[in-house]
């Protein structure tokens, strides 16, 4: 088994909805070039997009780190923001603290985290109120 690895990073700015989606489309391109199976690409891109939009909608700024090896992709989103007080509650479908402005942009249905959960093989969220949130998404290429 080869130990080839790749790593890249993207910066995300809170409130900048017009730029959202760039990291997802780059990750998608990369996975396509690596010949990863279509369904895995789809799931990864959905989960990443939701996580990225959460930074844009709810936090101030963040960094997305992507690590790929021949087995899996791990995406770690670290943000500076208000943090999440009750993660369990935040995961519930329909729970949202999105502002009216964010809702106006078409977000804020409270679907993002549960959507991430169904599209990630492993999802871990840690958060400190007042500091920020770390979301880790892991998907395997071969089942």
């Amino acid at each position: 088994m080869s130990s080839e690895k790749m790593h890249f990073e993207y910066r995300v700015e809170g409130g900048n909805f017009s730029e959202a989606g760039y990291p997802s489309s780059q990750v998608k391109k990369t996975l396509k070039q690596l010949n990863v199976e279509g369904n895995v690409i789809k799931r990864t891109v959905v989960a990443l997009y939701e996580a990225e939009v959460n930074i844009v909608a709810h936090a101030y700024r963040g960094v997305i780190a992507v690590d790929i090896d021949t087995e899996k992709i791990i995406i770690t989103l670290t943000d500076e923001g208000p943090g999440i007080a009750d993660i369990k509650k935040a995961m519930e479908i329909g729970y949202s603290t999105a502002t009216p402005e964010v809702r106006e942009m078409g977000f804020g249905a409270g679907m993002g985290l549960s959507n991430m959960n169904t599209n990630a093989d492993k999802l871990s969220i840690t958060s400190e109120v007042g500091t920020g949130t770390i979301v880790e998404i892991m998907n395997y290429f071969h089942k």
Binding site: E4, M6, S24, K28, Q33, L34, N35, G38
Partner: protein, 465 residues
């Protein structure tokens, strides 16, 4: 290479080496980066081509041609059916009636002339059912435009499963026609069904169909060829014959192949229509990123103004659209007093058609993947990234590849050398790593001896200095 793959890469667009001047216009326009220049000639990478015909439009010397069946082939059959798409009627001046067109086609030797869109009403119902039953695969993508189907196979492999697996109107009409004729006692092998095509993509759809073994159509006739033949007949005619034309199609059917033709008639949820291949690519990128939400059906067409803009349509596409819309309005007005609606003959739940219109799966054949082996692919990807970083990003095409990024990929796939970049050559020359002779040799191998002939500026050379 295996036979099967050869067939899969069959293309209706052919490059005539004898005419090609190696100008690279086609390379620069190709939306799938399927063309390179080598030895002064355009080279087609068959696995990347989707037969959209953008290259055909820009070639300044007519070196790209569309393959064509021999017209005489129709005489191999006793019963000769011409299947004519409605856009054909939009090619002629207003003074030419559809009746005249119809009789001219008969005069050319066809025993039956039928409009392709007769199958539309039947197919529209099936599409609506299909969309209702396949909500999990949203957005469902119309299989109508073969260039788009192939584009998805090569460039958007993850969306291959979103394509509606039902045949096109032309196949429905062809199946129905053959069935009707055999029911009348004509032997199937005596029936030849010929499709008059507006584009190269539809030819490929007949010659090497996706999702079916063999097409129900026996041959194709290029629309510009038929147009010229008919125009000649019409010019020779002194008096106008009063034959009834093909006015029996419904409004919907007449406009089906135009932009919004399909999308306007899907009853389930929300539909969108997008035409022109670069617009389609831009939108599919977003669909693939799941950035587009809540769309049930996508009508996607490779040509601007859809089939009115097909590369084999002789008329102006905007005029064609206008004519078809006028014809559609007229057909709507005359509802009720049209003699007998021929479309009615295709029963909405014809069991024979229902059984025969499903398509097999549309398989992805990605041109994006760098290697089947993932760690190989990763090594290549890193190498491409490194190479691309040293290239100037001018995308001038002088290396014979359409962009700097494409050259990086070609190098890593062993199909080019980084020394083909003119900037790299200059840098190497400054470092005494390349002499002029070598760089000239490289340029000649891309652009041919002619373009770099030492004597070619003989007269002007003194003035230049």
């Amino acid at each position: 290479m295996e036979r099967k793959t050869d067939n899969q890469f069959h293309h209706a667009l052919k490059f005539r080496e004898d005419l090609c001047i190696g100008c690279s216009h086609c390379m620069n326009i190709c939306p799938t980066e399927a063309i390179r220049v080598s030895h002064g000639k355009a080279q087609l990478h068959a696995n990347r081509c989707v037969d959209c015909g953008e290259c055909y439009r820009v070639c300044p010397v007519g070196a790209i041609i569309v393959e064509q069946d021999d017209f005489e082939n129709i005489y191999k059959y006793n019963t000769r059916v011409a299947l004519i798409p409605s856009v054909f009627s939009g090619q002629f001046p207003d003074s030419v009636s559809s009746g005249e067109i119809l009789s001219a086609v008969h005069e050319l030797g066809f025993t039956h002339v039928i409009e392709v869109e007769e199958g539309v009403e039947f197919l529209n119902d099936r599409f609506n059912e299909y969309i209702r039953e396949n909500q999990a695969k949203k957005p469902l993508i119309s299989p109508f435009c073969p260039a788009v189907v192939r584009l998805i196979q090569v460039k958007f492999p993850t969306l291959a499963g979103n394509i509606i697996l039902l045949k096109a109107p032309v196949d429905v009409t062809a199946l129905h026609t053959r069935k009707e004729l055999t029911d009348q006692g004509i032997a199937s092998e005596d029936i030849g069904i010929f499709y008059v095509t507006p584009c190269a993509a539809k030819i490929v759809a007949v010659k090497s169909p996706v999702g079916e073994e063999k097409s129900v159509i026996d041959g194709v006739i290029n629309m510009n060829y038929l147009y010229n033949k008919i125009f000649k007949i019409l010019r020779q005619k002194k008096e106008k014959s009063e034959v009834t034309g093909f006015s029996h199609l419904s409004e919907k059917s007449i406009c089906w192949s135009l932009t919004h033709g399909e999308s306007g008639h899907m009853t389930q949820g929300r539909s969108l229509a997008i035409d022109e291949i670069n617009n389609v690519i831009e939108f599919l990128e977003k669909v693939e990123n799941e950035e587009i939400d809540g769309i049930d059906f996508l009508e996607l067409r490779a040509c601007d103004e859809s089939c009115a803009g097909g590369i084999l349509c002789p008329g102006n596409r905007f005029m064609t659209v206008d004519k078809l819309r006028k014809r559609a309005v007229k057909s709507g007005d005359s509802k009720g007093n049209t003699p007998e609606s021929k479309t009615g003959k295709i029963s909405m739940n014809d069991p024979f058609l229902l059984e025969n219109i499903p398509l097999g799966p549309v398989l992805p054949r990605s041109i994006i993947k760098l290697d089947d082996n993932m760690s190989e692919a990763m090594i290549k990807m890193k190498r491409i990234y490194e190479l691309n970083r040293v290239l100037p990003q001018v995308d001038c095409g002088i290396c014979g590849s359409p962009t700097c990024k494409a050259l990086s990929e070609d190098v890593v796939q062993n199909q080019a050398s980084i020394k083909q970049c003119i900037f790299v050559q200059k840098i190497l020359e400054q470092n005494d790593k390349m002499d002029m002779q070598e760089s000239i040799q490289i340029m000649k191998s891309i652009w041919s001896d002619n373009k770099l002939d030492q004597n070619s500026l003989k007269d002007e050379i003194n003035e230049i200095n």
